[in-house]
Symmetry: C2
Subunit: 445 residues, 2 copies
């Protein structure tokens, strides 16, 4: 691990003042050591020099809701609403996974995420074999907080037996993963609890997760209030709104990362704000599943930290943060009005908001001295980006993931001149097709 | 002009049966002359052979609502609703255009459209100097039906004086452009009437356009029922709903291409169906301006032909049909439910629907013997597209414009291996930045 100079870009620092600085970013080992016009003089020479001429240098993007294991399900589960999508496709396919197909899925996801400028992921995997996903992610270079999916209840949904587990097994395996992996790969890997959603977990499980997450300072990553059907089941089973139920079982805290939060009311928003719950917004997935549009403007006005994620390739079907940024902005324009969520605020959600959700704001999310070197360099000179007078607008509305030029995670160059340094795209493609065929056969689809 | 063989692809013919054929496409001059496994034997040799291995070969995409002249306004008009957007930004910038800046705008648009697989455009330009746009488009290779914007009324909106013209001048210039250009560039260029929208035109103008469009068999390209503010003004001024007014002035016919059609009711839909009005759907623009989501499912159930367009870079801010296809599908999933607009139907809208709107269905819109050689070849082997078991799903949900490998218009290769053959992207970028600076200064922005 050596030194890297990113030379000659327009640096969107995303520091508290959102300063934009012309110049260089100097990196030594895992850390950013200098930013600005004189950064190139931080050392007499650098091991690697990356050209950022005509480019924006920004913090690596943080996607806070992903299912890497579903990446090989892309296109296999179109045209269904959430609960049908789970029962008819996603659960049978998850139940068919093996460690080998999980590795392929993690590889496929890593290829797309890194190539399009995402450096950090909060992911919920399937019930079994999460070690395989973690090993692959650790090797390929993403920074990730990963949880095995916890599912010990069904609430009348049709869950394959392989995905049903006892409360004790769910908790034990979640803790064991934490013990084995938290802090691995120079600290890049962290482990969270990931109860799937209220209706696939018993109250005992959720209460245990609430208690253990306090003791072990672990994040809790779950789905909440994504579809009307889901919130109706929670109300039927508990007599409470979904978020009130999560609060009642002791989960509402600054460590709770709640994906979607579409069907929530003012009372729930006030509670979430007071508990500092984090909202993970997935506009692409919400549209494609027909779930709805989350009240992001109201959440932000309440002071709730919102970040972004693509969710999974089975419901999006992309993992490209540029698509999520654009949708986040334009869907609120439609829902409330143009201007309620300016482009700069969306870039904030994609960087600082993500760092906040992960409890890593002191370490990542901005380009500042001493922060970890998670950096995305985006070419800004394509005709489709012109005239490009405002870099935030250009990033959010006009830029594609393929405009990403270089990506560093933890000081390692993972994309250089648009090419993945540690993965062969043709091999990944070949493996993904094979894994999908195998899974469809095994799932009987 | 010679012969081209597109070799070894999966051909999405978009013929009436939506056949998918493995094999080659042979082209002689302007026309497709053979399709399928034996197409390579149509001639002993071909002047150009394009590799389509691992790719889909599809009809060139048809965008039916664009404003090429606005391409240099990208990012200069964010965060505004339609009428504010027009009055505060787009009209002042259009009024500042010169023939030179219009040429740059047409070049910038052509670069993005061709690079991302759009071969055909229905465009509304500004009030003046439309010859400059037409000349540029004719030279760069798009197939296009172009109209100068007609504006002889204000309905209380704040129109710059340079964009106000007399009824007589509007009509005369529209007809003169038709006389000068219709059928030019081997038939690639056609000329339409383009009254901006009901509230910027007098009743006399709209009636004259209705009558002359019948006489000259010209398309009428307009905006209709895009925003609530607009339909309220029409009702105030005419006592009629927007579409009923367009019918009353004699415009509702198979030649009427009406962009947006968001705020329409059942009575209007029934009238539009009976008159065979064409609807031009612009989901990206509609979201960003906060206009709403058009009732595409209801329009299709009524038998109305719907096609797609990006609108303009000032309100989208992309001109990439892959983004419009994805939004078209997912917005209806949110509005009505997943499955109401399957991916194949969206690809139909992007190809056959566009050909129908332009009255060119016998000439373009599918890969069939005898049709004009407008062809887009899309690479399908990127990791972000895997496993890609259904090509329509992969195209609509997972593919980016940058996956386009080759593009032919009228038998000419305009993109080869992802590179524009007739445009230097760096030069286009440089010119666009200069034009934008000049326009902002002249518009006082």
């Amino acid at each position: 691990m050596g030194s890297v100079l990113i030379r000659g870009g327009s640096i969107l620092t995303m520091n508290d003042a959102c300063d934009i600085v012309e110049g260089d970013v100097a990196i030594e080992g895992q850390h950013i050591v200098a930013v600005g016009a004189d950064a190139g003089r931080a050392r007499p020479r650098f091991d690697i020099v990356l050209d950022a001429g005509g480019a924006v240098v920004m913090p690596g993007m943080v996607q806070t809701h992903l299912h890497l294991c579903q990446t090989v399900f892309r296109g296999l589960a179109d045209d269904l609403t959430l609960l049908d999508w789970l029962q008819a496709r996603v659960w049978p396919l998850e139940a068919a996974h093996t460690p080998a197909t999980l590795r392929v899925a993690a590889r496929l996801a890593s290829a797309e995420l890194l190539r399009t400028g995402t450096t950090v992921a909060l992911t919920m995997e399937t019930v079994h074999d999460t070690d395989a996903v973690i090993e692959e992610v650790a090797a390929l270079g993403l920074r990730a907080t990963i949880g095995k999916c916890l599912m010990d209840g069904t609430s009348g949904t049709n869950v394959p037996s392989r995905l049903q587990e006892s409360t004790r097994d769910a908790i034990d395996e979640g803790l064991a993963l934490h013990a084995r992996w938290d802090g691995a790969a120079d600290g890049r890997i962290r482990v969270a609890f990931a109860p799937r959603f209220a209706i696939s977990c018993t109250r005992d499980l959720l209460e245990a997760v609430g208690s253990l997450s306090r003791t072990h300072r672990m994040l809790v990553h779950t789905h909440a209030s994504e579809s009307r059907g889901e919130v109706e089941i929670v109300r039927r089973d508990t007599g409470l709104s979904n978020m009130a139920y999560l609060d009642a079982v002791g989960l509402a805290s600054p460590r709770l990362c709640a994906a979607h939060c579409i069907w929530i009311d003012e009372t729930e928003i006030a509670m979430m704000a007071s508990r500092q719950v984090k909202v993970l917004h997935c506009p692409g997935s919400n549209l494609k599943l027909g779930s709805g549009v989350a009240p992001i403007v109201e959440l932000q006005r309440a002071g709730i930290s919102v970040s972004l994620g693509a969710d999974g390739a089975a419901c999006n079907n992309r993992l490209d943060m540029f698509d999520e940024m654009r949708l986040a902005a334009t869907l609120q324009a439609m829902r409330v009005g143009p201007g309620v969520l300016p482009a700069r605020d969306v870039v904030w959600m994609a960087t600082r908001g993500g760092a906040q959700a992960l409890g890593l704001e002191s370490a990542i999310g901005s380009i500042e001295n001493g922060k970890l070197a998670d950096v995305t360099v985006v070419g800004m000179d394509g005709p489709h980006q012109q005239p490009g007078t405002n870099p935030y607008s250009t990033l959010v509305y006009a830029t594609h993931g393929t405009d990403v030029r270089h990506v560093l995670v933890d000081g390692h160059v993972r994309v250089r001149d648009g090419h993945l340094t540690g993965l062969d795209p043709a091999a990944v493609t070949h493996q993904a097709r094979g894994a999908a065929r195998e899974l469809m056969t095994r799932a009987g689809l």
